[in-house]
């Protein structure tokens, strides 16, 4: 029995898919007919903010993204930078803000899992993870629950997967009461001549599904991540995805083993809107069509519809284009690691995205247009409203400086974060030279004298006061953190967390911060090689502080020539450098 795919497409249905009437008309214009339900699902996934970057693309293009050592800038699963000796560092940061607010433990685990996958999809072995967390006021009723869940989730995934979590930030501010931020960064090392990309090549090549089975997890999740919270939050709950770090560890080992055989032509992880985005991206990048046969997709639930399979966000899955002559070898690797391996389609020369289920073609769409013709907005933006300047007289003088220092040091935003990072395995793999607690983490590269310096930073208060200066400052601080440990700063990944871009003053914050980041990165020759945008971090009219998190990576040539933050001995001179 087949599952119906043709139901009338009503305005309500269109709205539920997060498409505006204009966007829907644009789509109908592209395909020249009314879409099927599966097609509507596919376009809603491709055209939502999260996948299409429709509000931010115009501005992201202004960032400096190249440099003499940049091997791959934005546009792939992660950025790649040459570090000499035939090695490259592969890194990216990504947010899981909305899912973490709904279910903090699972939201954080799946965020960490997603970013790790982005890195090892490129052929890199992850060697470090960082995270930047922001929560509401410590006395807000939800904060405690969110903090403990998110921290346990970040640790739970990274610890089991086996990557050291070496740094991060935790900050509290009432603007995050209704929208916490979970930004996770992963860093890996690959051989420069063995980097894997998502661009499919060759007609008639098998498309292989790898990893865990598909369930109904997160169907509608990509849409959720892009919609401001409202009263329907309760109804959206069942779309929570569960992370399985054990399967991801197996997937890592299996992928690296498989890549070493030379069987992989292209590979892409299934992130938000899994099968849809990954298949379309691989085909479109390679100027190829893709035909999928959903009957071969490994599923763990019964009677899944094509719509559900195309939108499922089940974790720990990959899509790959395989050299057909190496199929048996490839399959053996996955069987050994106990993971699913299924040929679910092939590349074609007709530039169509054709999806079959139970003998019926449930979608047939122009593959390039799904990405290239996605709406792009030049959203109106106004000058951000800066908070009023504080009159010095409005700040009462302190009588007891000692007590003031104590209360500063003990305040939620200054207090020790040991409670957090002791829940993270920051020592595994044996490379950690400086773990959490310093200016930058320092991680030694295998058997050598070289090390990477890693940091994440932003001061949202500054960005609220002056987006341009705040954006610049975040980059400058990341730069200083890296140089403070003796590293040569290499490149940046960013995670731009803002409120509702349809509000001109929020868009103004976004534009200002990007311009500031761009100016600082240009001045410092500190290119942005990857990143992520998270908008609609707002509840009603309450937006978060503008939070453009900057992840910085630097290189130390000789670990014996590094610096830490501790004073070494009595009687040392203390110098103040800078202006």
């Amino acid at each position: 029995m087949t599952i119906p795919n043709t139901i009338p497409i009503t305005p309500e249905l269109i709205a539920e898919h997060g498409l505006t009437p204009d966007e829907y008309d644009r789509f109908v214009g592209l395909i020249g007919r009314e879409p099927s339900l599966t097609e509507l699902g596919i376009v809603s996934a491709m055209w939502n903010e999260h996948c299409s970057y429709k509000s931010s693309k115009k501005w992201l293009k202004t960032l400096p993204t190249s440099g003499p050592t940049v091997i791959q800038g934005p546009g792939e699963n992660a950025g790649v930078v040459d570090i000499g000796d035939g090695k490259a560092v592969v890194f990216k940061m990504e947010s899981h803000n909305h899912p973490s607010y709904i279910e903090p433990y699972q939201g954080a685990t799946t965020g960490v899992g997603g970013i790790l996958r982005d890195v090892f999809t490129m052929g890199a072995r992850p060697i470090a993870a960082l995270n930047a967390l922001r929560f509401g006021s410590p006395d807000h009723p939800r904060t405690r629950h969110l903090v403990s869940g998110v921290v346990a989730g970040v640790g739970g995934y990274g610890n089991s997967f086996g990557v050291p979590t070496v740094g991060g930030e935790v900050e509290f501010d009432p603007s995050y009461d209704g929208n916490c931020l979970v930004n996770a960064m992963a860093v890996g090392i690959a051989d420069t001549d063995k980097i894997f990309y998502s661009k499919a090549e060759g007609v008639g090549m098998p498309i292989v599904y790898l990893g865990s089975k598909t369930g109904r997890d997160g169907v509608g999740g990509a849409t959720m991540a892009s919609a401001a919270f409202d009263d329907t939050i309760e109804e959206k709950r069942p779309t929570v995805q569960v992370g399985d770090p054990f399967s991801e560890k197996l997937l890592l080992e299996a992928c690296l083993e498989l890549m070493a055989t030379g069987a992989v032509i292209a590979i892409q992880d299934m992130g938000a809107a899994g099968l849809t985005c990954s298949a379309v991206e691989m085909g479109a990048k390679g100027n190829l069509g893709v035909r999928l046969d959903l009957d071969h997709v490994p599923v763990r639930e019964e009677r899944m519809t094509a719509y559900e399979m195309m939108l499922s966000e089940s974790q720990e899955r990959m899509l790959m284009v395989l050299r057909p002559d190496m199929r048996a070898e490839a399959e053996a690797v996955f069987v050994k690691w106990g993971l699913d391996f299924a040929v679910v389609g092939e590349t074609t020369d007709d530039l169509r995205f054709s999806v079959w289920h139970q003998g019926e073609e449930v979608a047939n769409l122009p593959i390039k247009e799904l990405g290239d013709e996605a709406p792009e907005y030049d959203r109106p933006w106004g000058e951000a409203v800066a908070p009023a300047a504080l009159e010095p007289s409005a700040v009462p003088a302190v009588d007891d400086l000692g007590a003031a220092v104590l209360s500063l040091v003990g305040s939620p935003n200054q207090a020790s974060r040991r409670w957090v990072w002791e829940q993270y395995d920051h020592l595994i793999l044996g490379g950690t030279v400086t773990g959490p607690g310093g200016d930058s983490a320092v991680v030694r590269l295998e058997d050598g004298r070289k090390a990477l310096a890693l940091t994440v930073d932003v001061t949202p208060r500054y960005c609220a006061a002056d987006p341009f200066e705040g954006g610049k400052q975040a980059v400058a601080e990341a730069w200083r953190n890296l140089s403070a440990v003796g590293a040569e700063p290499l490149a940046v990944t960013d995670n731009l967390n803002f409120g509702n871009p349809e509000r001109p003053e929020i868009m103004g914050q976004f534009v200002g911060c990007i311009k500031g980041i761009g100016a600082a990165c240009t001045a410092l020759s500190f290119p942005v090689v990857s990143g992520n945008v998270s908008l609609y971090n707002a509840t009603g009219d309450e937006a978060i502080l503008p939070t453009p998190t900057i992840g910085g990576v630097g290189l130390i040539d000789d670990i014996d020539r590094r610096a830490g933050i501790a004073f070494g001995a009595d009687g040392e001179r203390v110098l103040l450098v800078g202006g």
Binding site: A152, G155, G156, N159, S160, F161, G162, D244, P245, F246, S247, K249, L250, W337, G338, W421, E422, Q423, Y424, D425, H426, L427, I428, L429, G430, G431, T432, V433, R444, A451, I559
Partner: protein, 223 residues
């Protein structure tokens, strides 16, 4: 000294311990897949740290039933040495090669920090490079390291002197009974411990206190 490191699905400190063995003995260990049933000709078998099978059901439970485990027991019965670190310790208790059980940490959280270990015995191959009563630094990183044994078992292992390492100076991170951090079997040829000496073997890691354990194994004679 020849050694083998068993790789279970979810092992993740297998490379760390291999590095430590290489540094201390000059010889790379062989990696052995959990689904194999035979061990190569080695003096030492290591069950590494990690989250074998995700630590689902109970930490180490599923790995303890892996196809390779009978060969590990046979290796010991023949006079061979076995070292289980962290998840490896959990696998050893789950398989009955060591007594007791490792329960959820008393604080219920994963703990990664340096602790102090006092060396309770130096007459084992694993601890012979240390002094009795010496206190060394060593990292821990685990969620289920709270050693438990019923009173009779505890009396027995204390009476036999099977406790090899104890958390010292108030650094017990997990609530283990009698501050137990590592125990040996009655022959002294099986050691299970929660801390990670393999992560403290080089200056860049902040010290070499853990290296002594592997150095002590360097000239193991085939039994």
């Amino acid at each position: 000294m020849k050694s083998a490191v068993i790789v279970f699905p979810g092992s993740n400190r297998d490379r760390d311990v291999a590095t430590a063995l290489k540094v201390a003995t000059g010889i790379d260990p062989v990696f052995v897949w959990h689904a194999d049933t035979d061990l190569p000709d080695v003096d030492l078998v290591v069950l590494p740290g990690g989250f074998s099978y995700g630590d689902y059901l109970r930490s180490g439970a599923i790995a303890a039933r892996a196809a390779i485990m009978p060969a590990v027991a046979a290796h010991h019965a023949r006079g061979g040495y076995v070292l289980g670190i962290c998840n490896g310790f959990q696998i050893l208790t789950e398989s009955g090669l060591l007594p007791g059980a490792l329960m959820r940490n008393a604080g219920l959280r994963f703990v990664c920090r340096k602790v102090k270990l006092s060396i309770e015995r130096t007459d084992t191959a694993f601890t012979r490079t240390y002094r009795k009563g010496q206190v060394i630094s060593c990292p821990v990183a685990h969620h289920d390291g709270n050693y438990f044994a019923d009173p009779e078992t505890l009396d027995r292992i204390e009476g036999n002197g099977q406790v090899v390492f104890r958390y010292a100076e108030g650094t017990n991170p997990n609530g283990s009974v009698n501050d137990i951090a590592g125990i040996a079997d009655e022959t002294g040829r099986i050691l299970g411990m929660m801390p990670h000496p393999e992560n403290l073997i080089a200056d860049h890691q902040g010290g070499r206190d853990g290296l002594g354990l592997f150095a002590g194994l360097a000239d193991l004679q085939p039994a």
